[in-house]
């Protein structure tokens, strides 16, 4: 017939059954389910996904147990925490009584304890090249310790001690050069081999309480002054570079490890301010939610988030580009926070507080810590995606955003809100009843007093 001649265009349909299409390859493989994805056959896609999103968000809250454990052993309140740049599980902590402890976080045990200073240990910094630890204390000493031995035996005695003239409140180390900066009555630059500062930056008479080297653009230093200022230094210059004065004092400062020109300060006025160092006219973001002075801040190593420790007995986790915190951690026994740190693998958060404990938290409250198999991982990711997709729907949003907070936080939050509303109302009334037009100052710019 015609079919068999070459000219015919007729198609002959054949039945093809290829086992590859419907049989799984191994016994451990999942069963193959042929599926028709035609949307016409699934008219209720969105409602079904909504239900799944609802379940996902509820599960997320069920599994949100961020507290992992506490490291107790100090005999006085914590003052500072130090993450070893090369060892994830090594955590150094300094206390008010001058004790320095090395912890093994994985085992939650003290590795070594040493009386480092008389009085407070104010701050510590690591030099990665020489793998040494520098501490400053109220006894006006800078001490250098070796930080190499697994058993911490090199903490027995400092390998170097520098006697300084003034009070020291903070220290930071250059990322690659053998240079460190201390702050106190002035900002001093020190070199490893010298007993005298190689450079002194002074601007005004007030003292500085926190100093940090920029880890990306390595020669830049920023410090917080007690005259409510934030000062920018360039190591190579002979004078400080820039100063911005805020309405209230900044307690701590942290550079974003992934964005060279971004840093955030923890302020006394319950807020955190993120600045672009190229524009001090107003902060690029104001992070609210704390109900008491913010004492410390640390960025996550990815630069996407940061943790803040506050005097209101809570720590909060912020997305670095959002104004409100994404999570709040607290326990009934945790007192005033003095320091916080984000682990270098981006999974944990450490907090040190007045009541002598270091606490370990998960950076993402609902994350599973154990082994996660691929299918489970996919399921978790899909759940997260679903929650993200429906995050704006009121019912899901409510569950997603809901956090139980201590009553004092809850009450003072309401109080703050009321006072804010009252202030706004008053401003509105003033505006409406004055003839002369008052200039409208954006909320962000209000915090800046002056820039020099």
């Amino acid at each position: 017939m015609d079919i068999f001649s070459g000219e015919s265009k007729m198609k002959v349909k054949l039945l093809v059954r290829n086992p590859d299409d419907y049989l799984r390859e191994t016994k451990r493989d999942i069963h193959k389910l042929p599926r028709n994805y035609d949307p016409a056959l699934h008219p209720l896609e969105t409602p079904r996904e909504y239900t799944r999103a609802m379940n996902a968000v509820k599960l997320e809250r069920v599994f949100a147990l961020p507290f992992i454990g506490s490291l107790d052993g100090h005999r006085d309140g914590l003052t500072c925490l130090g993450k070893h740049p090369d060892h994830l599980s090594w955590l150094y902590s300094g206390a008010c009584d001058g004790e320095l402890k090395l912890w093994d976080v994985a085992k939650r045990k003290i590795v070594y304890t040493v009386q480092a200073h008389d009085g407070f240990i104010r701050a510590m910094a690591f030099s990665q090249e020489t793998s040494s630890l520098y501490t400053v204390g109220d006894d006006k000493l800078i001490k250098q310790w070796k930080a190499q031995e697994l058993d911490g035996s090199d903490l027995k005695a400092p390998i170097n001690t520098i006697v300084t003239r003034g009070m020291l409140t903070g220290i930071s180390h250059h990322r690659s050069k053998p240079v460190m900066a201390t702050c106190g009555e002035a900002c001093n630059l020190w070199e490893h081999s010298r007993a005298q500062p190689i450079k002194t930056f002074q601007w005004g008479v007030d003292s500085l309480q926190s100093i940090k080297f920029n880890q990306v653009e390595e020669n830049i230093i920023a410090a917080c002054g007690s005259d409510r200022s934030i000062i920018l230094y360039d190591m190579r210059e002979s004078v400080p570079v820039r100063k911005v004065v805020l309405k209230m004092r900044s307690n701590a400062l942290c550079w974003n490890p992934m964005e060279a020109f971004i840093f955030t300060v923890a302020n006394e006025d319950y807020n955190l301010y993120t600045f672009d160092m190229r524009n001090f006219a107003n902060p690029i973001n104001v992070h609210k939610d704390h109900v008491s002075a913010v004492i410390d801040i640390d960025y996550s190593p990815t630069g996407k988030e940061f943790v803040s420790a506050s005097y209101d007995k809570t720590i909060r986790l912020y997305n670095s580009r959002q104004a409100h915190s994404r999570d709040i951690y607290h326990t009934s026994r945790m007192q005033r926070l003095t320091c916080a740190a984000w682990s270098l693998d981006d999974r944990f958060v450490y907090s040190g507080s007045d009541e002598m404990n270091i606490r370990i938290w998960k950076a993402r409250a609902a994350e599973k810590l154990g082994v996660v198999k691929p299918r489970e991982k996919t399921a978790l990711r899909v759940n997260a995606k679903l929650v993200e997709k429906f995050a704006h729907h009121p019912a899901i949003k409510r569950i997603h955003r809901h956090r139980h907070v201590p009553s004092h936080v809850y009450n003072s939050r309401n109080e703050l809100r009321n006072s804010r509303i009252a202030a706004r109302r008053k401003e509105f009334n003033v505006r409406t009843h004055t003839k002369r037009q008052l200039p409208i100052i954006p909320e962000k710019a209000k915090v800046i007093v002056s820039e020099q």
Binding site: E45, V241, H393
Partner: protein, 741 residues
């Protein structure tokens, strides 16, 4: 030569004079004392003691002698003097020039700034430097912020396999053998190009025709060409014919053909018929847009002048105007016909125009007309004088039709309602209409509006009427049966009178001025109330809101009532065939009866729709405001509608969609960003650049081939420039690419 200590006052020259005078005095002691005084005085000022070795004729014992002292201060040696000395030496000519330049340019430096200011400047400069320095991270930071996924640590070694195509792309033939082979391959038509199924030779073979086909094709082409030329010749010949009658006939025939074609299409192919109709309509629209048939042309003006004396001219002018109106007539939409069955019940007088309270008093028909006129008159003050003058003129030369109208105002009514046979009268009448129309073009608005007020009580046919006379008749006998002929006459006038008012407002008619028809505008009384209602009517002339509202309500009610659900399958369980009725069993079993509709709150309220669909429980679950990154509700809804789970989309797609923004590796330290990232980013950019370049090179540009071929011989400058341009383009493109990254 002797060493001299010379005192030089920095500022004051007066001191010098004193010393000079003192030196010239005789008394030695006095002189000495004075000198000492002067010196002590000088001591208060800033004195500079310089030591010089200079030849002096007389050596003062006190060794405190001013150079050049004794005569005058003008005797001081200046640089110019010294230069004069060396002027003879040609080698030192340059020195003179340099001194001159230094003199002209010299200016005192400014005093250094105070310390705080100086520090401020230094800080500002330092800050600028730092700012510039950190700005190099801008691109990377921005890129990371918007990245779909970031994998930390960032500086991971990129493991990549080099594919064969990559290798071949970079490969350049070096040895003579390689070059020979590559040359062979490049020029050969039997080598398959990349991404192509066939070689050029194969392609050619496929596309080539057989001889038979080629001949047939040529024949066809020749035939069509001949036909075309015949047609062109014919058209040219026809264009040359000057006879007007011929062209008129041609036009008519064309028109007839069009109509015939349309009729035939209407039966067979409604789609195309519609298109045809649209085409015709477009023509009409074009006509409406032009000034044709408006009486504004040269010919029309001439005719207007003639029309005073010449009956023919008048007729032709009227004819032209009628034509114009015909094409500019507003076409009633078919849905207006549904109004026909609404009885024309005169309602009580009210302000609402569609309640029809505006039924004018039939005893004063003329005042209505004139009030309309007056309205416009008042608006157009300028033309008033002219018109009046013209009126006088017209009255003087009052012609027959105007007389008829003036003297027998009821005559027309009679004519309209009953058929008048006399041809003369008819022509006269029609003429009068025409003239009146053309006269009233400017005022047409007024008339139109008046009639539209009555639209709401009358049948659509009546609605269309603009002529006062017809209105009167319809008012008088709204239910009177008019015989078909009259109806046809009416229809004709309707056609002539239904005019888009806007069109005519914008077009001042030139014919009016010279027309030989009297103007009637006696009515002076103006009813305020009437006017107000009229304007309302104007505003809503085209709406039939009540009807729309009723329709809407009906729809809402029907939408809210539950309906029977029919689950029957035709032919299921029964014998098939046409015209079968559903059995009672099936009806009972498969048609789910809807429950009776709940009572609506707006059942008895005719002019009210109460929306009862609002579901507050549902509302609580929905998103109130548009979330931040979205710009429109549509895009947000689209995002929500798109499924992300594997039930609805393939597993691979799910994985891609659910990929987390940030990926970290357990137990890996993430170090802060380093310069290497900057470098690697630059490298990546360069790589892409190279790739682009390679791709471009792969493209067979004619210039390139020639260059290759003649590389051993000569390279023409034009080719070279072309290639360079090309290369420049290549380097330019990846810049944008890197931005995207």
């Amino acid at each position: 030569m002797s060493k001299l200590k010379i005192l030089q006052p920095v500022e004051d020259k007066q001191e010098f004079l004193d010393i000079d005078e003192a030196a010239s005095d005789d008394g030695d002691e006095q002189k000495h004392e004075k000198l000492l005084n002067a010196i002590s005085k000088l001591g208060n000022k800033k004195m500079k003691i310089t030591q010089r070795t200079e030849p002096v004729s007389r050596i003062n014992e006190h060794a405190l002698v001013q150079v050049g002292s004794g005569k005058s201060k003008t005797n001081k040696i200046k640089v110019d003097d010294l230069l004069n000395v060396i002027a003879e030496k040609p080698r030192l000519g340059a020195l003179k020039k340099a001194v001159k330049q230094a003199k002209s340019k010299s200016s005192t430096l400014k005093a250094p700034l105070e310390k705080p200011q100086a520090l401020r400047v230094e800080r500002a400069a330092g800050y600028e430097k730092v700012k510039d320095e950190v700005s190099k991270w801008d691109d990377i930071v921005k890129g990371n912020r918007v990245a779909e996924q970031l994998i930390f640590p960032l500086d991971q070694p990129s493991i990549k396999m080099q594919s064969a195509s990559d290798f071949t792309a970079k490969f350049k033939p070096k040895t003579p053998l390689e070059q020979q082979i590559s040359e062979l391959l490049r020029c050969n038509r039997h080598v398959q190009a990349e991404n192509e199924e066939l070689t050029p030779a194969e392609k050619e073979a496929l596309t080539s025709m057989s001889l038979k086909e080629a001949l047939a094709r040529r024949r066809e082409l020749a035939k069509s060409r001949a036909l075309q030329s015949y047609q062109e010749a014919k058209a040219r010949r026809q264009n040359k014919i000057k006879s007007k009658t011929y062209h008129r006939l041609l036009k008519k025939e064309k028109m007839k053909n069009h109509v015939k074609e349309f009729d035939s299409l209407k039966e067979h192919d409604p789609q195309r018929a519609l298109e045809k109709l649209e085409q015709l309509d477009k023509k009409r629209i074009e006509e409406r847009m032009t000034l044709k048939h408006k009486g504004a042309g040269k010919w029309a003006k001439l005719q207007a002048i003639r029309s005073k004396y010449d009956q023919n001219a008048r007729e032709s002018l009227a004819d032209q105007l009628r034509l114009g109106k015909e094409v500019t007539r507003k076409i009633k939409k078919p849905d207006d016909e549904s109004e026909e069955d609404i009885p024309s019940v005169p309602l009580e007088k009210s302000d609402n125009p569609w309640l029809g309270g505006s039924l004018p008093d039939s005893s004063h028909p003329t005042t209505e007309v004139t009030s309309g006129y007056r309205k416009l008159w008042d608006n157009v003050n300028k033309g008033r004088e002219i018109k009046k003058k013209m009126n006088k003129e017209v009255k003087k030369t009052a012609s027959k039709p105007s007389k008829v109208k003036q003297s027998h105002p009821t005559d027309e009514k009679i004519y309209d309602s009953t058929k008048v046979d006399s041809a003369e009268n008819e022509s006269v009448a029609s003429e009068s209409y025409d003239v009146q129309e053309e006269f009233s073009e400017e005022l047409d608005e007024g008339l139109v509006r008046k009639s539209t007020m009555e639209d709401f009580q009358q049948t659509p046919e009546d609605v269309e009427m603009k002529q006062i006379t017809y209105k009167k008749t319809s008012k008088k006998q709204p239910t009177q049966k008019i015989d078909s002929q009259v109806a046809s006459v009416q229809a004709e006038t309707k056609i002539a009178t239904d005019i888009d008012p806007l069109k005519f407002i914008s077009m001042p008619d030139t014919v009016i001025i010279n027309s030989s028809v009297p103007v009637t505008e006696e009515g002076n009384e103006e009813d305020e109330d009437e006017q107000r209602r009229m304007t309302l009517a104007e505003a809503f002339a085209d709406d039939d809101v009540i009807e729309q509202f009723k329709e809407e309500k009906k729809q809402v009610i029907s939408a809210s009532t539950p309906k029977d659900i029919d689950l029957t399958l035709p032919g299921w369980g029964e014998w098939g065939g046409s015209g079968l009725k559903l059995s009672r069993r099936k009806k009972r079993q498969f048609i789910i009866k809807a429950p009776p509709a709940p009572k609506r709150r707006d059942d008895n309220q005719g002019n009210l729709i109460i929306n009862q669909d609002k579901n507050t429980n549902m509302r609580r679950q929905q998103v109130n405001d548009l979330p931040f990154p979205f710009r429109s509700a549509a895009s947000f809804e689209y995002k929500i509608r798109a499924p992300v789970t594997s039930t609805f989309i393939p597993e691979t797609a799910v994985r891609k969609l659910a990929a987390p923004k940030v990926l970290t590796k357990i137990g890996t330290i993430i170090a802060p960003m380093t310069d290497e990232v900057l470098i690697s980013a630059a490298k990546r950019n360069k790589e892409t650049q190279d790739k682009m370049e390679l791709e471009n090179r792969k493209k067979p540009t004619p210039g390139k081939y020639q260059k290759r071929k003649k590389s051993s011989l000569i390279t023409k400058p034009t080719k070279k420039s072309k290639i360079q341009k090309n290369q420049w383009q290549i380097t330019d493109t990846p810049a944008t690419n890197s931005l995207k990254k």
